[in-house]
C-alpha cells in the first residue's frame, strides 16, 4: 500500500489501540450487566419522512415502518424519538475480523486479498437458518459492541493491509448511515467497500449506496415467494429488484443461493432462477450454490448433499450462466474459475486459498479472453 508510511501505520495502530482500550471498560461493564442496553448511538437516520403527531415513516426498506414516538422499526436498531428517527448502532461494531474475500464470497473481486469484515447488530428479515442469529435476530441491547466510528474502521482496514472493507454477518442495510459514511471515508483512502446483503432495500437508498461502494453480493434465499414468506419473512420481488438495480449500475455483482434440502432445492426453481439471472443481469454474473450447514432454528435438518449442489451447478451452466460455483465444499472443482473462452482453469481455488492464478490484466493467460470482474 503506497499510502502507508510507518508514521501513518503507527498512528493508525495507536488510534485503533486507543479506541479498543477506550472501549474495554465499557465492554467489561456490559459483560456485568444483564440486559442493560449501554452505549447505543443516537445519530439521525436518513430516508425517512416526518409525519404529524411526532410519527415518522421509514423509507429505507419495503417494510415501510410507520412509527410513533419511542417506537422502533422492525429491524430493531432504528428508533423514533419525538418525531426524529435515529440509528441506534451507528459506529457500534459487534463483530470485526479479517477474512479472505473469497469467504463473503466474492470470487471475481480482488482475489486472494483480505477484507476487513465488520457488522453492527440488526436485520430486517428473519431467516430460520441464520448463521449470525446471535447478532441479527436480537435487540441491540443484548449485544456487546464497541465504538468504531467510520474513520477508525478505515484505520483498522489500513492497519491490517486490507484493500477492502466488507459490511457483512448481519444486514448492513439496517445500519445504512454507518455503512455509507464508512464507505465514503474508505474511498478517500483508496480502500474499497463490498456489501453482503439480503437485498431488502428501497430504490432510493440503494441508488445512493451504489455510488460509494464497489461490489455487492446478494443472498438470494430461494426463488419462490412461498419460501420467502415461510422461512425468511421477506419479499422475493424486492430482492429481484435489488439484484436488477445493482446489475444495471455497473457495481460488481455476485449472487449466492444457499441450497437447503427439501426447502429450496427443487430443480425447477433452480432452473427458473438461472433463467431469470441470464435474462435480467446477464450470464457474466457469478452465482454461488452454497452447502447448507444446519444451525439456528433449522439445526435439525440434514446438510445439503454435494450431489445436489452439483446438479444445481449443472442446471445453471446449461442455462448459459458462465460462472457458477459451489460453496462450502473445499477442494471441489466447482470452486475454481474456468475461462469462458478456452475452458481452462484460470483461478484454481482450494478452500479460501488461491493455488494458481492464470490471469493478467483481467485476461486469461492461455487464450487472452477477458474475464469479467474487478481484478485489481
Amino acid at each position: 500500500m503506497s499510502f502507508m508510511t510507518r508514521r501513518r501505520f503507527l498512528g493508525h495502530t495507536a488510534g485503533a489501540g486507543l479506541v479498543l482500550g477506550a472501549g474495554l471498560p465499557g465492554f467489561c461493564n456490559r459483560l456485568a450487566a444483564f440486559g442493560q442496553g449501554a452505549g447505543l448511538s443516537r445519530v439521525e437516520a436518513r430516508y425517512y419522512k416526518k409525519l404529524p403527531d411526532r410519527e415518522i415513516k421509514c423509507q429505507l426498506c419495503p417494510r415501510a415502518c410507520r412509527l410513533g414516538d419511542k417506537e422502533r422499526g422492525y429491524c430493531g436498531v432504528r428508533e423514533n424519538e419525538g418525531g426524529t428517527y435515529y440509528s441506534l448502532v451507528y459506529g457500534k461494531v459487534c463483530s470485526l475480523n479479517v477474512d479472505p474475500i473469497e469467504k463473503k464470497p466474492f470470487f471475481h473481486f480482488l482475489p486472494g486479498t483480505g477484507a476487513l469484515s465488520m457488522a453492527a447488530a440488526g436485520c430486517n428479515v428473519n431467516c430460520r437458518f441464520c448463521q449470525n442469529w446471535e447478532v441479527s435476530q436480537v435487540r441491540p441491547e443484548q449485544v456487546d459492541h464497541y465504538d468504531l466510528p467510520p474513520e477508525a474502521a478505515v484505520g483498522r482496514a489500513a492497519a491490517n493491509r486490507c484493500p477492502s472493507i466488507a459490511y457483512t454477518y448481519t444486514e448492513p442495510i439496517v445500519y445504512f448511515e454507518y455503512m455509507y459514511d464508512t464507505a465514503v471515508a474508505a474511498r478517500r483512502k483508496k480502500i474499497r467497500s463490498v456489501v453482503v446483503t439480503a437485498g431488502h432495500v428501497n430504490e432510493a437508498p440503494l441508488r445512493d449506496l451504489l455510488e460509494v461502494v464497489d461490489a455487492v453480493k446478494v443472498d438470494l434465499k430461494g426463488f419462490t415467494q412461498d419460501f420467502y414468506s415461510t422461512y425468511v419473512r421477506g419479499e422475493l420481488k424486492t430482492v429481484l429488484d435489488t439484484i436488477r438495480a445493482v446489475g444495471k449500475s455497473g457495481v460488481w455483482l455476485e449472487i449466492v443461493y444457499l441450497v437447503i434440502p427439501t426447502l429450496n432445492d427443487r430443480a425447477a426453481d433452480i432452473r427458473d432462477m438461472a433463467r431469470w439471472v441470464r435474462g435480467e443481469v446477464g450470464v457474466n454474473v457469478p452465482v454461488h450454490f452454497s452447502r447448507f450447514q444446519p444451525l439456528y432454528l433449522l439445526k435439525n435438518l440434514p446438510p445439503t448433499p454435494v450431489a445436489t449442489l452439483e446438479e444445481a451447478r449443472e442446471t445453471a451452466l446449461s442455462e448459459g450462466l458462465r460462472f457458477v460455483y459451489i460453496g462450502n465444499v473445499p477442494g471441489h472443482p466447482g470452486e475454481s474459475t474456468y475461462c469462458p473462452g478456452c475452458g481452462k482453469v484460470v483461478i484454481r481455488r482450494i478452500g479460501y486459498r488461491i493455488d494458481a492464478l492464470h490471469l493478467e490484466a483481467g485476461r486469461c493467460t492461455f487464450c487472452g479472453a477477458a474475464l469479467p470482474g474487478v481484478w485489481t
Binding site: Q131, T262, P302, A307, T308, I350
Partner: protein, 735 residues
C-alpha cells in the same frame, strides 16, 4: 365419609380389586410410553423430563379433587377407563405430529414453551381422567382411599416391570402402547364388574390392537418431505435414519447424531487433536465413530482405535445403511468396538495408555451427556492419557460473535478443563474445538498446515486452504478473551452440579423468542440462599402457626403428605441424576428405577394399612426416617457405591412415602373427608418439587446441597408432626 359408610359391602372377590390395580398399571405404562414419545418429539433432556413428569402429577392431582355429585357405578368407571385409553392413543398421535400441528417442518427446533405446552396438554388428556378414576375407585371400593392406593401402587409396580422387561426391549413405542392398551381393554371387557358398554370397549380393543401397525407409516409421514428409511426404538430413545440423495443422517430423538459423509465435522473432531502428536498410536474415540471420525483417525498410519459406543443399535443401524466405505472403517482390524458406557470403559483402562481421547458426542444438552464434560471425568481422562496425550471435543458455537449465554457455556467448559489440564487451546469457528493436554499445544495455522502436508493427509477442512482463515489470530484472541471472561465463579462443571448443562439450556432457549431464556438466565443469578434457605426459614413460622392453632383443621395431617410428595420426587430425580453420573445408563434402566420406587410405595402403603392404630407420632417417625435416608443418600452420591444402592434408596423413599400417605390419610379421613384430597396434595407437592428441581435447582445448586436442605425440611415436618401429638384426641382408628 358417609358414602363410605353406606357402601359397606363385604365383597372380597378379586374382580372388585381389578379396577384399582388396573389404574396403577395403566398410569405407569402410559406414563413411560408418553415420556419416551415426548423425548422423541422434543429431544428430551432432564428439564423437559421434569415438565412431563410435573404435568402428569399436576393433572393427576387436580383430577383427584373431583367431587362426583352422585355415586358412580362400575359401568361409569369402565367408561372412564376406556376414555383414558382412547386419549392415551390420541396423545401419542399428537406428539408424533406435533411439529406438523405447529406448522413447522420436521427439521425445525422448538423451544421450551412448546415442550411445556405439549406436556400440559398431554398431561391433561391422560392424567386427569386417571386422577379422577382414583377418586371414583375410592368411593366404590370397600376399604376406600387406602385400599385403592395400595392396589394402585402394586399395579404401578407390575406395569413398570412389565414394560421394562417385556415390552421395551422387543417392541417399538407404539407397538408396546398398543399391547398395553389392548390388554387393559381386554381386562375391562372380561375382568371388571359392569353392566353395559361392551360395544364401546370392543371398539377400544380393536383400535388398540391395530395401533401398533400404524407406527412405521406415521413416522414416515411425520418426517415428510424428508425420507425416513429406518427407525428403531431402543431403551435410550428413538433412532432414525434420514436419506437425502446419497447422504444419510442418523437422528436420536429428533437430534442429528451424525451425517455420512460429513467431512467437516469428522475432520474437526480428529485432526486438531492428532496433529499435536508426532506419531499417534493409541486413540480412544467415544461416540461418533460411524459418522466418519474413524476414517479420519485411520489416516494416521500407526493409529489404532478403541471406539466406545453406548447404544449397540447405533452400530447396527450404521452397518445396515452405510455404504461400503463407511462400513469398512467400522470393520478395520485397527478398530476395536466396545459397546458400553465411555466413562466406565475409560475408568477400567490402564493408566497412561492413550495418546488421544476424542469425544465425539453431542454438547452437554442433557445431564446424562454432561457427565463427559465434568471435572471428575476430565481427571479420569488425564490419568489415562500419556504425558503428551491430548483430549479433544467440539461444541457448536458461533463463528463471528460470542453472545453472553454462549460465553457462559463455553466459559464453564474452559474453566473445567483448566482445572485439570495445564494447557488448553480453543479453535474458533462454527464449532469450537477444545484441546487439552499436559504438553504444549499449537493452533497456529502455519504449523498445522505444515503438519498436514508433511503427513500427506488428504483433508478438505483441516487443510492449508482453510486453516489460515479459521485460525486468524484475531479470531483466536477474540474467542479466548470472550470465553475466559465467562469462566468466572460458579463455572466449574461437576457430576453432581451440572452447570454446563444448565448454561446450555439457557443458550439454547435464547434462540426462541419466548421468555424462557431470560427466565432461566435470571434464575441462574439468584443466590442459593434465596432459593434454598429462605423458604425453609419462612416455613418455620408457618408450620408453627399451623401446629398450634386453637381449632385444628383436618388438613394438618396432610402437611407431612405435602412435604413428602415434594421431597420424594426431588429425591427420586436426584438419585436418577446421580445414578446417571456414576453408572451412565439411566435411560436404559429408567423404568426399572421408577419401578423400585413404585414397589416401595406399594410395600409401604400395604404395611401402613396393617397398622390399625395410627397417630401423629407415626408421622413424626416417618419424617425422621426420611431425614436419615436423605442424609444417607447425600453421603452416598459422592462415594463409589454398588449399583444396587440407588434401587434400594428409591425403594426406601417409596416405602416411607407410601406408609406416610396411608397413615396421614387415615388421620385426615378420620376427621373429614374428601377421599381424593390427600392424593391431590401428594401429587401437587410432587409437581412443585419436580418443576423446581429439574428446572434449575439441581443443575445449578447441585445435588448434595439440595439433599441437605430437603433433610432440613423433613426435620421441620417431623417437628410439626411431633407437635401434633401434643394435642388431645390425636389418635384415630379407621379400618
Amino acid at each position: 365419609m358417609h358414602i363410605l359408610r353406606r357402601r359397606a359391602a363385604r365383597g372380597l372377590d378379586l374382580r372388585s380389586r381389578v379396577p384399582a390395580f388396573l389404574l396403577g398399571f395403566l398410569a405407569t405404562s402410559f406414563q413411560i410410553y408418553l415420556l419416551r414419545e415426548f423425548n422423541a418429539a422434543f429431544y428430551g433432556n432432564e428439564l423437559t423430563f421434569g415438565f412431563v413428569l410435573g404435568a402428569w402429577l399436576l393433572w393427576g392431582g387436580l383430577g383427584s379433587l373431583i367431587r362426583p355429585k352422585r355415586a358412580v357405578d362400575g359401568t361409569g368407571l369402565v367408561r372412564l377407563y376406556t376414555l383414558a385409553i382412547g386419549l392415551f392413543l390420541a396423545s401419542l398421535v399428537l406428539l408424533r405430529f406435533s411439529h406438523r400441528l405447529m406448522g413447522l417442518p420436521p427439521g425445525q427446533a422448538t423451544g421450551l414453551t412448546a415442550s411445556l405446552a405439549s406436556s400440559l396438554l398431554v398431561g391433561f388428556l391422560v392424567s386427569f381422567p386417571l386422577g379422577a378414576a382414583f377418586v371414583l375407585n375410592s368411593l366404590g371400593l370397600p376399604g376406600g382411599t387406602l385400599r385403592v392406593y395400595v392396589l394402585e401402587s402394586l399395579g404401578a409396580a407390575v406395569g413398570g416391570l412389565g414394560v421394562h422387561f417385556l415390552l421395551v426391549p422387543r417392541f417399538s413405542n407404539w407397538q408396546g402402547a398398543s399391547i398395553v392398551s389392548a390388554a387393559a381393554a381386554a381386562a375391562l371387557l372380561f375382568a371388571v364388574p359392569r353392566k353395559r358398554s361392551a360395544g364401546l370397549i370392543a371398539v377400544a380393543l380393536a383400535a388398540s390392537a391395530g395401533f401398533g401397525f400404524l407406527d412405521s407409516p406415521a413416522q414416515k409421514a411425520a418426517w415428510r418431505p424428508l425420507e425416513l428409511v429406518r427407525s428403531e426404538d431402543t431403551p435410550y430413545g428413538r433412532l432414525q435414519v434420514i436419506r437425502v440423495g446419497q447422504q444419510l443422517s442418523l437422528y436420536s430423538n429428533g437430534l442429528p447424531l451424525f451425517t455420512y459423509p460429513d467431512a467437516a465435522a469428522a475432520e474437526e473432531s480428529v485432526h486438531f487433536a492428532l496433529l499435536q502428536l508426532p506419531r499417534p498410536r493409541n486413540v480412544l474415540l467415544i461416540g461418533g465413530g460411524a459418522g466418519g471420525a474413524l476414517g479420519e483417525i485411520l489416516k494416521y498410519p500407526e493409529a489404532r482405535v478403541d471406539y466406545v459406543e453406548l447404544d449397540p443399535a447405533v452400530i447396527r443401524l450404521a452397518e445396515a445403511v452405510l455404504p461400503a466405505s463407511g462400513i469398512a472403517d467400522l470393520r478395520s482390524p485397527r478398530v476395536a468396538i466396545h459397546l458400553e458406557d465411555g466413562r466406565a470403559f475409560l475408568e477400567r483402562a490402564p493408566a497412561a495408555s492413550y495418546d488421544a481421547v476424542i469425544l465425539d458426542l453431542p454438547e452437554p444438552a442433557t445431564a446424562q451427556i454432561n457427565r463427559f464434560y465434568t471435572v471428575e471425568f476430565f481427571a479420569t481422562v488425564r490419568a489415562k492419557l500419556g504425558p503428551r496425550g491430548v483430549l479433544a471435543f467440539a461444541v457448536p458455537s458461533d463463528e463471528n460473535y460470542i453472545g453472553r449465554d454462549l460465553q457462559r457455556l463455553l466459559g464453564s467448559l474452559l474453566a473445567t478443563l483448566e482445572n485439570v489440564f495445564p494447557r488448553v487451546a480453543v479453535v474458533p469457528g462454527g464449532r469450537n474445538v477444545f484441546l487439552a493436554s499436559g504438553a504444549p499445544l499449537s493452533i497456529e495455522a502455519g504449523w498445522l498446515s505444515a503438519a498436514v502436508s508433511k503427513l500427506g493427509l488428504r483433508n478438505s477442512f483441516v487443510s492449508p486452504g482453510m486453516l489460515p482463515a479459521r485460525l486468524n489470530p484475531l479470531r483466536v484472541d477474540y474467542l479466548m478473551d470472550k470465553i475466559r471472561a465467562g469462566a468466572g465463579a460458579g463455572a466449574l462443571n461437576r457430576d453432581l452440579v451440572p452447570v454446563s448443562y444448565y448454561f446450555h439450556s439457557v443458550f439454547w432457549a435464547g434462540q426462541f423468542k419466548g421468555p424462557e431464556s431470560r427466565l432461566l438466565g435470571l434464575l441462574a443469578r439468584i443466590p442459593p440462599f434465596w432459593v434454598l434457605d429462605f423458604p425453609l426459614m419462612l416455613a418455620v413460622p408457618f408450620l408453627a402457626l399451623a401446629a398450634l392453632r386453637k381449632r385444628p383443621s383436618p388438613y394438618r395431617f396432610l402437611v407431612p403428605v405435602a412435604v413428602m410428595g415434594f421431597t420424594a420426587i426431588i429425591a427420586e430425580m436426584a438419585v436418577l441424576i446421580a445414578f446417571q453420573a456414576a453408572f451412565g445408563c439411566v435411560y436404559g434402566k429408567i423404568s426399572l428405577l421408577l419401578t423400585s420406587f413404585m414397589a416401595g410405595l406399594f410395600a409401604g402403603s400395604a404395611a401402613g394399612r396393617r397398622r390399625k392404630r395410627a397417630g401423629p407420632g407415626d408421622l413424626a417417625a416417618v419424617e425422621a426416617g426420611f431425614v436419615i435416608i436423605l442424609l444417607g443418600v447425600a453421603a452416598a452420591v459422592s462415594a463409589p457405591v454398588p449399583e444396587a444402592v440407588p434401587y434400594l434408596a428409591l425403594f426406601a423413599f417409596g416405602g416411607l412415602g407410601g406408609w406416610l400417605f396411608i397413615v396421614a390419610n387415615r388421620l385426615y379421613l378420620g376427621e373429614s373427608g374428601h377421599p381424593g384430597t390427600g392424593y391431590a396434595i401428594d401429587l401437587i407437592g410432587s409437581f412443585l418439587g419436580v418443576v423446581l428441581a429439574s428446572s434449575f435447582v439441581i443443575p445449578l445448586l447441585g445435588i448434595p446441597a439440595l439433599l441437605g436442605r430437603l433433610a432440613l425440611l423433613n426435620l421441620l415436618g417431623m417437628l410439626f408432626a411431633a407437635a401434633l401429638t401434643l394435642r388431645k384426641g390425636a389418635n384415630a382408628t379407621v379400618a
